[in-house]
């Protein structure tokens, strides 16, 4: 395909998500450019992780659709790699580092298929890229927080995707890991790959990312760092939610008004 005609890696249209009756995200729409590093930024409870999960189809959408390179996710699975939050996993699980990274190859392995020699080589390279090769036989319970994060990144890298969605990769990591992640971003960008991260550190967001999506239950702004990283946007994002919007949306969900309306 001619690069000019390529569709955006992610297009989000009118996305709505809720937790029971509480609205988490309301009417979020944006499109991201290819080959950039993109941060999703917002206060605690703004729905950053939920947005990522909604995009990946891991949590149900009430409304809206997400397109990957112009197609639904099922057609672009292999092009997309997801890095979950480190806290979501039981790190006491009996498994070693190499086996975790090999999981990245399972999207391409059918049913009972086991990883091949090639899969091992890909996993090896991914571990080396994150300076974790020496730990390949280590039990995951014996890793530090930063090392755990690098294992997760290596696993995503082993997927050889062109779009990476990461949930807080910089949270609670040591300096060495932070450097390794930035190095990884550089390499991926040089290959024209796109990275979307949930990020919580406003001090580094301008330095590490090309693009920012500000959310707080709704989309505040999305665009290149130079244009959207403004005091006004920060105030809008961190200055509390629009309570009327929230309350009315909750009432709408409670009364199931949206369903009643469709049936008219």
């Amino acid at each position: 395909m001619n690069p000019d005609s390529r569709k955006a890696p992610i297009t989000v249209n009118n996305l709505n998500m809720r937790y029971q009756y509480k609205p988490v995200l309301t009417d979020v729409s944006f499109e991201i450019p290819e080959g950039k590093t993109i941060a999703i930024v917002g206060p605690n409870g703004a729905g950053k992780s939920t947005l990522l999960k909604g995009i990946m189809g891991l949590e149900p959408l009430i409304e809206g659709e997400v397109k990957f390179f112009g197609e639904p996710l099922t057609k672009k699975r292999l092009a997309t790699a997801y890095v979950p939050q480190r806290e979501e996993i039981d790190w006491d699980f009996p498994i070693d580092v190499m086996d975790v990274v090999l999981m990245g190859r399972h999207g391409q392995l059918k049913l009972w298929q086991r990883p091949s020699k090639l899969d091992y080589e890909i996993a090896e390279q991914a571990l080396k890229d994150l300076q974790m090769w020496d730990f390949k036989d280590r039990q995951i319970s014996q890793l530090s927080g930063g090392q755990q994060q690098r294992v997760f990144l290596a696993r995503a890298l082993a997927q050889q995707a062109s779009l990476y969605l990461m949930d807080e990769p910089f949270a609670g990591v040591d300096v060495a890991t932070e450097k390794a992640i930035i190095e990884l971003f550089k390499n991926l960008k040089a290959q024209g790959k796109t990275i979307v991260c949930v990020h919580h550190d406003l001090n580094t967001v301008g330095e590490y990312f090309d693009w920012i999506i500000f959310i707080n239950a709704r989309l505040v702004a999305a665009g290149p760092v130079e244009t959207v990283l403004t005091k006004e946007n920060l105030n809008k994002t961190y200055g509390g939610r629009l309570s009327l919007l929230n309350d009315l949306t909750e009432t709408m969900y409670r009364t199931r008004l949206n369903q009643a309306h469709e049936n008219d």
Binding site: M56, L78, Y82, P84, P94, M103, L111, W112
Partner: protein
Amino acid sequence: MQDWTVISQPSTWELLLDFWRFEDMNALWVLMGSVLLGISASIIGGFAFLRKRSLVGDALAHAALPGVMMAFLLFETRDPVVMFLGALTSSFIGFFIIDWLPKNTKIKPDAALAITLSFFFALGLMLLSYIQGLQVENKSGLDKILFGQAAAMTQDDITLLTYVTLFVLLNVALFFQKLRLIAFNTQYARSLGISVKFYEFLLALLIVMSVVVGLQLVGVVLMAAVLLTPVAAARFWSDQLSRILIIAGSLGALSAVISTQISYLAPAMPTGPWMVVSLASLFLLSMLFAPNKGLLKRFLEQKRLRQKVSEENVLRTLYKLNEQSNFTRRYFNLPDIQALRAIPIDTLKKTLRSLGGKDLVVESTKGYRMTDTGMEQATQLTRRHRLWESYLNQQVELTPEQVHSQAERIEHILNEEQEQQLEAELRDRHSDPHGKPIPESQGEIK
């Protein structure tokens, strides 16, 4: 039957010999069947354990009871396949209720489990007592599925058991990688496009099948223990999932051998409780004596550490006594040491004795004196203690009063590399926050 046994009761020993000569073909079959069940239930239970769904097996086993009774009522036969299908059906109904309730109502999973389990079990007991009041043939052994009775198993039972357990083991071998992936990180598996629903259904099916064929042997009430106890015990032995499952399978097999044998020696004994009790004993042994994670090992390590700490504390005290006398006096007695550090006299004597055994301290009529090696070690400990105090004082800005108790602990674990790093980061590395000199490095300590 009862009369016959009274007349010519063979001794337990003879029965045991009979059993292991495998002259009784039926006993051999039962043994093989129960070993297979022990293996497959332990292995498939391992995945339920890892997914933190340990109690699901218990609920499914209880949910099988009304199915067995209904199948008997409808078809008036004890054919194993009919019983199996009946149990499978009601177990699955139970499984879907447990799955559906939390997703669609405000009921939490644990409550859903408890409600379903007791309801199905009660229903099964009702049907069982109803059947026992009926005038039908074949009903006599039905109550045995409550607690299991290996000796009552027929050839047909064993054949079915063999097929089902082999099917379960084959599936685990085939889908091991995917089952492990889902158990480890379900959301990630979903993000890879793996059909998590399919594998969850497969896992449920395999658990239900293992539970249902195990009813004859272990019984409804205790089946959960056979699913879970082996893997819980095996968790103490290894950190490698494949190895854990193999150990769990072996423990399951071992408990099956023990319980079948007892059931053969004393046919009135239910197999289930014996199997579970032997599994629990194996669990207890694992918990206490496993080489790396056993409690005994942890206890010994703790004890060794405590010993090391008290020895090092005495060495440090001797150093301070030396220092107080400007290194002119070398012999000190027990009251000197106790004046500087509160140690019960018995502990102090014991510690000094063990320091003596290591040639770090020598005892004579003049008192206790550190050897050269002892002095070297004491100097190094003091150095580390004071370096750490200075570090806390300078970098963390703790007061001199606060830093001491911290350093009392850290001195025992600092290594040489960290010592050098500390030294490099300190502005003043000649005296500690209390104004005491920090002794120079002793180099490599033998």
